[in-house]
Symmetry: C2
């Protein structure tokens, strides 16, 4: 496997080191050959080349079998609304260029972390869901404008039936292998795009008679996620709602530092933690590498390296149980020492 | 005071009865005269007149001093994406026609309900925040379209500087009377409208040097609300983000059945619970009337009837402590008996 490694900004590089180390251990133990090649993206891309998605980085991704992505974003740009070039553009363009239309975010409550959650253990015990977030359309990619006199701004959210269908098919197929329930989250009582989602997904559901389909308005979903997370099996939703709900749902898992994601399309695939660049922690060795390492496990799974993926997951679960973990989940270990421990378990 | 009463749909009429009863008790005790006049809205409006906001209802609101609003929505319409007339249009048009640009949603954790929350008591104890949600613009009111061939749909989100300024001024002024901290929630790393919010609010903040302003991206905010609700004093945000975050934040209060809101503009004001029409509960006498009754208290406060408002709030707090409450917060009482008890305390 040729793997493009895009560490990005903030804690990206440190966590990425651990993931590569663990993948190298997998390669050694299971006798594979993984070739890694790195390239800058985000603020790092801007600094090196002036472009948050340098041409060479995009090319590398396109010729690789998969992309491992770290994190993106730098506060330097956040409070300058007038900046024309921003790190996030790198990630957004990359998702679009690679056609990564489905972002898959599994969320479950780890037994040994129940005590650590802000939620009462009995509410989240055995919660196990996956969020399918549409990733290359909606308000993220609609036309935007700022009026000449800077007195008015507009963002546009557009969805086509085809964009809805392709991710909905993936979602229904995934639900068939799970508990066979899809919850479409939308705001169909207000938005035209939501009504198109509801109509399209309702029609498609007929092809999957073994899967139950239900609907929740996004405001209610944001509440239900915390009130009763166990009601969810697979949540299907559009880009912006998926962004909000999956960060919120990270609480169920105990820490956003544990949550992995896979972004897939017809040709390419990219694996990234759902957390951001966490600039306040950069360089301190306190970032949790598990989200990135579990993203690497999703990569293995994507290529049907099931045993290999399981070895990584088992190692992670053991490390959590033994509290060989970072402070966000109550451990006292550094980013590197968690990575070292996981490497040694996998080897 | 002339008060327009719009019970609306689902549990709307039953909770509204209790609010009117409590306001009548306030009038008797404090020697005021409150005149109530009712009119249909939402699905009830559609059934009576074919219009979710009948002309007579709008006129009544405009000639009244304030509007008490119940709830709106009927599942009959939700799963018919093609319906041209929907209950929600009544509420959305009413907000626009009355110019209710600021929706104010206070959220606090009741001490006696801490044990009832899905969140660990120590996380939410003493949480006390207010959400200022922009209510008459953004994607709720932008142009929408469905293409001729029904293969593509669009919603538009527009904000003007003026729309941002008027609610931001209210928010800063309110923060000055609170803990002097405003958190602007946006998605400025992606949306043009968010960047306009950030720029405008940053500029305005200079007029309020005693108030701290900070920023959170909406995905992070959805997580922080649950992780550490005590960090928030006043959250200022646009329409859709406010809808999602305030429903989510209801969890901190123990039940969405407790949360009141005031919607204000330059001329008119409307008071409504943040919960919806909860059709599954309609007619069963299990709906919590407190959100609506506390909305009535916000009405009193709005007209500087401070003692009167406090009498209602005190009654509610006592009822919660004594568990003279509905089942959503662990009591075994009906909607009406909670209303009766509150009436008797206020009298
Ligand atoms: C960095 C940002 C643009 C991105 C998004 O909103 O998609 C991030 O929050 C995510 O969820 O991957
Ligand atoms: C009923 C619906 C249109 C409404 C909204 O989204 O504004 C409701 O959820 C609310 O928060 O008042």
């Amino acid at each position: 496997l040729n793997i493009a490694v895009l560490p990005g900004d903030g804690i990206g590089p440190e966590i990425m080191q651990q993931s590569v180390k663990v993948l190298e251990a997998v390669a050694e133990r299971f006798q594979h050959e993984f070739r890694f090649e790195s390239s800058p993206v985000g603020a790092a891309g801007i600094e090196e080349t002036g472009d948050p998605l340098p041409e060479a980085t995009l090319e590398l991704c396109k010729k690789s079998d998969a992309v491992l992505f770290g994190a993106i974003g730098d506060p330097k740009y956040d409070n300058h609304p007038e900046a024309k070039i921003r790190p996030e553009q790198g990630l957004l363009r990359l998702r679009k260029e690679l056609g990564l239309f489905a972002n898959i975010r599994p969320i479950k409550a780890y037994k040994s972390l129940l005590e650590h959650s802000p939620l009462r253990p009995e509410r989240i015990e055995a919660a196990d869901m996956v969020i399918y977030r549409e990733l290359t359309s909606g308000i993220y990619y609609g036309e935007r404008s700022l009026s000449e006199d800077e007195k008015s701004a507009t963002d546009t959210c557009t969805y086509t039936v085809e964009e809805i269908e392709r991710i909905a098919h993936l979602a229904f197929k995934s639900a068939q292998k799970r508990r066979k329930k899809v919850t479409l989250v939308d705001k169909a009582n207000v938005l035209e795009t939501s009504r198109l989602w509801r109509k399209t997904v309702t029609r498609l559901a007929k092809d999957y008679p073994d899967v139950d389909l239900d609907f929740l308005f996004v405001d209610n979903a944001a509440m239900q996620l915390i009130l009763n997370p166990r009601q969810f099996d697979l949540i299907l939703t559009e880009n912006m709602f998926g962004d909000i709900l999956s960060d919120e749902a990270s609480i169920i898992g105990g820490s956003i530092g544990l949550l992995a994601s896979a972004s897939v399309g017809t040709t390419y695939s990219l694996f990234e933690p759902i957390h951001g660049s966490y600039p306040q922690a950069a360089g301190k060795g306190i970032a949790n590498p598990v989200a990135s390492i579990l993203s690497a496990a999703m990569l293995l799974e994507h290529f049907n390296l099931t045993k290999e993926a399981q070895a990584v997951i088992d190692a992670v679960e053991l490390s959590i149980k033994l509290q060989i973990s970072t402070s966000d989940i109550g451990g006292g270990h550094t980013t590197k020492s968690v990575g070292d421990f996981l490497e040694s378990l996998v080897l």
